[in-house]
Protein backbone atom coordinates (compact mmCIF):
# COMPACT_ATOMS: atom_id res chain seq x y z
CA UNK A 1 0.00 0.00 0.00
CA UNK A 2 1.29 3.40 -0.97
CA UNK A 3 0.44 6.48 1.06
CA UNK A 4 0.29 9.50 -1.23
CA UNK A 5 -0.67 12.22 1.22
CA UNK A 6 -0.88 12.56 4.99
CA UNK A 7 -2.70 14.99 7.25
CA UNK A 8 -2.50 14.80 11.01
CA UNK A 9 -5.09 16.43 13.25
CA UNK A 10 -5.24 16.78 17.00
CA UNK A 11 -8.32 15.56 18.85
CA UNK A 12 -8.33 17.48 22.09
CA UNK A 13 -11.84 18.83 22.33
CA UNK A 14 -15.39 18.27 21.19
CA UNK A 15 -14.93 20.95 18.59
CA UNK A 16 -11.99 18.94 17.26
CA UNK A 17 -14.29 15.96 16.77
CA UNK A 18 -16.46 18.14 14.53
CA UNK A 19 -13.38 19.43 12.75
CA UNK A 20 -12.19 15.87 12.10
CA UNK A 21 -15.57 14.99 10.57
CA UNK A 22 -15.27 17.91 8.20
CA UNK A 23 -11.68 17.11 7.31
CA UNK A 24 -12.54 13.49 6.57
CA UNK A 25 -15.51 14.60 4.46
CA UNK A 26 -13.22 16.87 2.46
CA UNK A 27 -10.67 14.11 1.97
CA UNK A 28 -13.38 11.67 0.92
CA UNK A 29 -14.67 14.11 -1.66
CA UNK A 30 -11.13 14.57 -2.97
CA UNK A 31 -10.69 10.82 -3.18
CA UNK A 32 -13.77 10.65 -5.38
CA UNK A 33 -15.98 8.58 -3.11
CA UNK A 34 -19.73 8.34 -3.80
CA UNK A 35 -21.96 10.26 -1.41
CA UNK A 36 -22.98 7.10 0.43
CA UNK A 37 -19.38 5.96 0.85
CA UNK A 38 -18.41 9.43 2.07
CA UNK A 39 -21.19 9.29 4.64
CA UNK A 40 -20.12 5.86 5.85
CA UNK A 41 -16.53 6.97 6.24
CA UNK A 42 -17.36 10.23 8.00
CA UNK A 43 -19.76 8.43 10.35
CA UNK A 44 -17.10 5.85 11.23
CA UNK A 45 -14.58 8.66 11.75
CA UNK A 46 -17.01 10.45 14.03
CA UNK A 47 -17.37 7.38 16.23
CA UNK A 48 -13.64 6.82 16.45
CA UNK A 49 -12.76 10.47 16.96
CA UNK A 50 -15.23 10.66 19.80
CA UNK A 51 -13.76 7.53 21.38
CA UNK A 52 -10.31 9.01 21.14
CA UNK A 53 -11.45 12.13 22.94
CA UNK A 54 -13.90 10.71 25.47
CA UNK A 55 -12.25 7.39 26.34
CA UNK A 56 -8.71 7.99 25.24
CA UNK A 57 -8.24 11.35 26.88
CA UNK A 58 -7.44 12.99 23.59
CA UNK A 59 -5.15 11.98 20.74
CA UNK A 60 -4.61 12.36 17.03
CA UNK A 61 -5.94 11.18 13.71
CA UNK A 62 -3.86 10.60 10.61
CA UNK A 63 -5.73 10.96 7.32
CA UNK A 64 -3.97 9.31 4.40
CA UNK A 65 -4.80 8.95 0.73
CA UNK A 66 -3.66 5.46 -0.17
CA UNK A 67 -3.14 3.45 -3.34
CA UNK A 68 -2.82 -0.26 -3.81
CA UNK A 69 -2.45 -1.49 -7.34
CA UNK A 70 -5.32 -0.13 -9.37
CA UNK A 71 -7.46 1.01 -6.47
CA UNK A 72 -7.30 4.10 -4.28
CA UNK A 73 -8.88 4.99 -0.97
CA UNK A 74 -8.56 6.66 2.39
CA UNK A 75 -6.97 5.34 5.55
CA UNK A 76 -7.66 6.86 8.95
CA UNK A 77 -5.57 6.08 12.02
CA UNK A 78 -6.78 7.18 15.45
CA UNK A 79 -4.20 7.11 18.23
CA UNK A 80 -4.35 7.93 21.89
CA UNK A 81 -2.26 7.27 24.99
CA UNK A 82 -5.25 6.59 27.17
CA UNK A 83 -6.27 3.75 29.44
CA UNK A 84 -6.70 1.29 26.59
CA UNK A 85 -9.58 -1.10 26.00
CA UNK A 86 -9.54 -4.06 28.39
CA UNK A 87 -11.73 -6.39 26.35
CA UNK A 88 -11.60 -5.65 22.64
CA UNK A 89 -13.80 -8.58 21.64
CA UNK A 90 -16.57 -7.37 23.85
CA UNK A 91 -16.15 -3.77 22.78
CA UNK A 92 -16.56 -4.80 19.19
CA UNK A 93 -19.69 -6.77 19.98
CA UNK A 94 -21.32 -4.08 22.08
CA UNK A 95 -20.54 -1.64 19.36
CA UNK A 96 -23.41 0.65 18.81
CA UNK A 97 -26.37 -0.86 20.57
CA UNK A 98 -24.91 -1.01 24.04
CA UNK A 99 -26.88 2.05 25.07
CA UNK A 100 -25.07 3.72 27.92
CA UNK A 101 -22.61 0.88 28.40
CA UNK A 102 -19.29 1.48 26.80
CA UNK A 103 -21.08 2.66 23.66
CA UNK A 104 -17.73 2.69 21.95
CA UNK A 105 -19.11 2.64 18.45
CA UNK A 106 -16.14 0.43 17.56
CA UNK A 107 -18.29 -2.29 16.07
CA UNK A 108 -20.14 0.31 14.07
CA UNK A 109 -16.95 1.83 12.70
CA UNK A 110 -15.80 -1.64 11.72
CA UNK A 111 -19.04 -2.40 9.91
CA UNK A 112 -18.81 0.82 7.97
CA UNK A 113 -15.26 0.24 6.77
CA UNK A 114 -13.62 -2.07 4.25
CA UNK A 115 -10.65 -2.72 6.52
CA UNK A 116 -10.35 -2.39 10.26
CA UNK A 117 -7.54 -3.05 12.70
CA UNK A 118 -7.09 -2.23 16.37
CA UNK A 119 -4.27 -2.31 18.86
CA UNK A 120 -4.85 -1.55 22.51
CA UNK A 121 -2.95 -2.11 25.72
CA UNK A 122 -4.20 -1.20 29.18
CA UNK A 123 -2.46 1.93 30.47
CA UNK A 124 -0.60 2.30 27.19
CA UNK A 125 -3.14 3.47 24.69
CA UNK A 126 -5.16 2.57 21.65
CA UNK A 127 -4.72 2.75 17.91
CA UNK A 128 -7.53 2.08 15.48
CA UNK A 129 -7.04 2.07 11.73
CA UNK A 130 -9.84 1.97 9.17
CA UNK A 131 -9.63 1.99 5.41
CA UNK A 132 -12.24 2.54 2.73
CA UNK A 133 -11.53 1.88 -0.92
CA UNK A 134 -13.14 3.71 -3.78
CA UNK A 135 -15.61 1.35 -5.38
Amino acid sequence: MLSTSQTSLAIASQEDVVFVRQAVRKAAVEAGFTLVDQTKLVTAASELARNTFVHGGGGTVLIEHVEEGARNGLRLTFTDQGPGIPDIERALKDGYTSGNGLGLGLGGAKRLSNEFSIWSEPAKGTRVTITRWKS
Binding site: T39, T43, S46, G103, G108, R111
Partner: protein, 131 residues
Protein backbone atom coordinates in the same frame (compact mmCIF):
# COMPACT_ATOMS: atom_id res chain seq x y z
CA UNK B 1 -22.65 29.39 23.71
CA UNK B 2 -24.63 28.79 20.57
CA UNK B 3 -28.00 27.13 20.96
CA UNK B 4 -30.23 25.48 18.41
CA UNK B 5 -33.43 27.49 17.99
CA UNK B 6 -36.75 25.86 18.87
CA UNK B 7 -39.84 27.27 17.18
CA UNK B 8 -43.41 27.00 18.39
CA UNK B 9 -45.95 26.05 15.71
CA UNK B 10 -49.37 25.98 17.32
CA UNK B 11 -49.31 23.10 19.76
CA UNK B 12 -46.12 21.66 18.25
CA UNK B 13 -42.47 22.50 18.56
CA UNK B 14 -40.15 22.54 15.56
CA UNK B 15 -36.40 22.07 15.75
CA UNK B 16 -34.31 22.35 12.63
CA UNK B 17 -30.76 21.09 13.03
CA UNK B 18 -28.70 22.91 10.45
CA UNK B 19 -25.22 22.67 11.83
CA UNK B 20 -22.66 20.02 12.60
CA UNK B 21 -23.19 19.69 16.34
CA UNK B 22 -20.56 18.85 18.88
CA UNK B 23 -21.69 16.65 21.76
CA UNK B 24 -22.20 19.47 24.26
CA UNK B 25 -24.54 21.24 21.87
CA UNK B 26 -26.52 18.07 21.30
CA UNK B 27 -27.01 17.61 25.02
CA UNK B 28 -28.09 21.20 25.51
CA UNK B 29 -30.62 20.71 22.73
CA UNK B 30 -32.03 17.76 24.63
CA UNK B 31 -32.36 19.86 27.75
CA UNK B 32 -33.76 22.88 25.96
CA UNK B 33 -36.42 20.81 24.23
CA UNK B 34 -37.64 19.06 27.35
CA UNK B 35 -37.77 22.38 29.12
CA UNK B 36 -39.76 23.93 26.32
CA UNK B 37 -42.22 21.03 26.11
CA UNK B 38 -43.06 21.56 29.75
CA UNK B 39 -43.12 25.33 29.46
CA UNK B 40 -45.44 25.39 26.44
CA UNK B 41 -47.42 22.23 27.06
CA UNK B 42 -46.61 21.19 23.52
CA UNK B 43 -48.24 18.00 22.28
CA UNK B 44 -45.72 17.21 19.57
CA UNK B 45 -42.12 17.75 18.55
CA UNK B 46 -40.90 17.85 14.97
CA UNK B 47 -37.17 17.39 14.51
CA UNK B 48 -35.93 18.33 11.06
CA UNK B 49 -32.64 16.62 10.27
CA UNK B 50 -32.55 17.43 6.56
CA UNK B 51 -29.45 19.48 7.28
CA UNK B 52 -27.56 16.61 8.92
CA UNK B 53 -25.24 14.77 6.59
CA UNK B 54 -24.30 12.22 9.21
CA UNK B 55 -26.07 10.65 12.15
CA UNK B 56 -23.69 8.71 14.35
CA UNK B 57 -24.40 6.66 17.49
CA UNK B 58 -24.25 9.71 19.76
CA UNK B 59 -26.75 11.70 17.73
CA UNK B 60 -28.85 8.57 17.40
CA UNK B 61 -28.91 8.20 21.16
CA UNK B 62 -29.77 11.86 21.56
CA UNK B 63 -32.73 11.52 19.21
CA UNK B 64 -33.86 8.44 21.09
CA UNK B 65 -33.60 10.31 24.38
CA UNK B 66 -35.64 13.20 23.05
CA UNK B 67 -38.36 10.82 21.84
CA UNK B 68 -38.39 9.00 25.16
CA UNK B 69 -38.54 12.12 27.28
CA UNK B 70 -41.22 13.67 25.10
CA UNK B 71 -43.36 10.60 25.44
CA UNK B 72 -43.16 10.84 29.22
CA UNK B 73 -44.18 14.47 28.91
CA UNK B 74 -47.15 13.44 26.76
CA UNK B 75 -45.79 14.74 23.50
CA UNK B 76 -45.19 12.81 20.30
CA UNK B 77 -41.93 13.09 18.38
CA UNK B 78 -41.49 12.84 14.65
CA UNK B 79 -38.15 12.91 12.85
CA UNK B 80 -38.24 14.38 9.35
CA UNK B 81 -35.98 14.91 6.38
CA UNK B 82 -33.47 12.11 6.82
CA UNK B 83 -31.11 12.10 3.83
CA UNK B 84 -30.93 8.83 1.83
CA UNK B 85 -27.20 8.36 2.41
CA UNK B 86 -27.74 8.84 6.14
CA UNK B 87 -30.52 6.24 6.10
CA UNK B 88 -28.35 3.76 4.21
CA UNK B 89 -25.48 4.32 6.64
CA UNK B 90 -27.72 3.87 9.67
CA UNK B 91 -28.96 0.57 8.28
CA UNK B 92 -25.37 -0.52 7.68
CA UNK B 93 -24.45 0.62 11.18
CA UNK B 94 -27.24 -1.55 12.54
CA UNK B 95 -29.00 1.39 14.13
CA UNK B 96 -32.77 1.33 13.93
CA UNK B 97 -33.86 4.34 16.03
CA UNK B 98 -36.39 2.30 17.99
CA UNK B 99 -39.64 3.94 18.93
CA UNK B 100 -39.06 6.99 16.76
CA UNK B 101 -41.59 7.93 14.13
CA UNK B 102 -40.29 9.34 10.88
CA UNK B 103 -41.68 11.26 7.93
CA UNK B 104 -40.20 12.53 4.71
CA UNK B 105 -40.65 16.24 5.32
CA UNK B 106 -42.14 18.81 7.66
CA UNK B 107 -45.57 18.76 6.02
CA UNK B 108 -45.92 15.02 6.33
CA UNK B 109 -44.46 15.19 9.81
CA UNK B 110 -47.15 17.64 10.89
CA UNK B 111 -49.79 15.35 9.39
CA UNK B 112 -48.39 12.47 11.36
CA UNK B 113 -48.41 14.47 14.59
CA UNK B 114 -51.99 15.59 14.05
CA UNK B 115 -53.02 12.03 13.28
CA UNK B 116 -51.42 10.66 16.40
CA UNK B 117 -53.21 13.29 18.46
CA UNK B 118 -56.53 12.25 16.93
CA UNK B 119 -55.76 8.64 17.66
CA UNK B 120 -55.24 9.50 21.27
CA UNK B 121 -58.82 10.63 21.37
CA UNK B 122 -60.00 7.39 19.82
CA UNK B 123 -58.27 5.17 22.34
CA UNK B 124 -60.54 3.09 24.54
CA UNK B 125 -61.24 4.63 27.89
CA UNK B 126 -61.31 8.17 26.53
CA UNK B 127 -64.53 10.06 25.88
CA UNK B 128 -65.01 10.10 22.11
CA UNK B 129 -64.33 13.39 20.46
CA UNK B 130 -67.56 14.71 18.88
CA UNK B 131 -67.38 14.69 15.06
Amino acid sequence: MERIPILKLGEFLLVSIQIDMHDRLAISLQDDLTGKIVATGAKGVLIDISGLDIVDSFIGRMLGNIAGMSRILDAATVLVGMQPSVAITLVELGLSLPGIRTALNIDKGMELLRQSLEEQWDSPGVINKPD
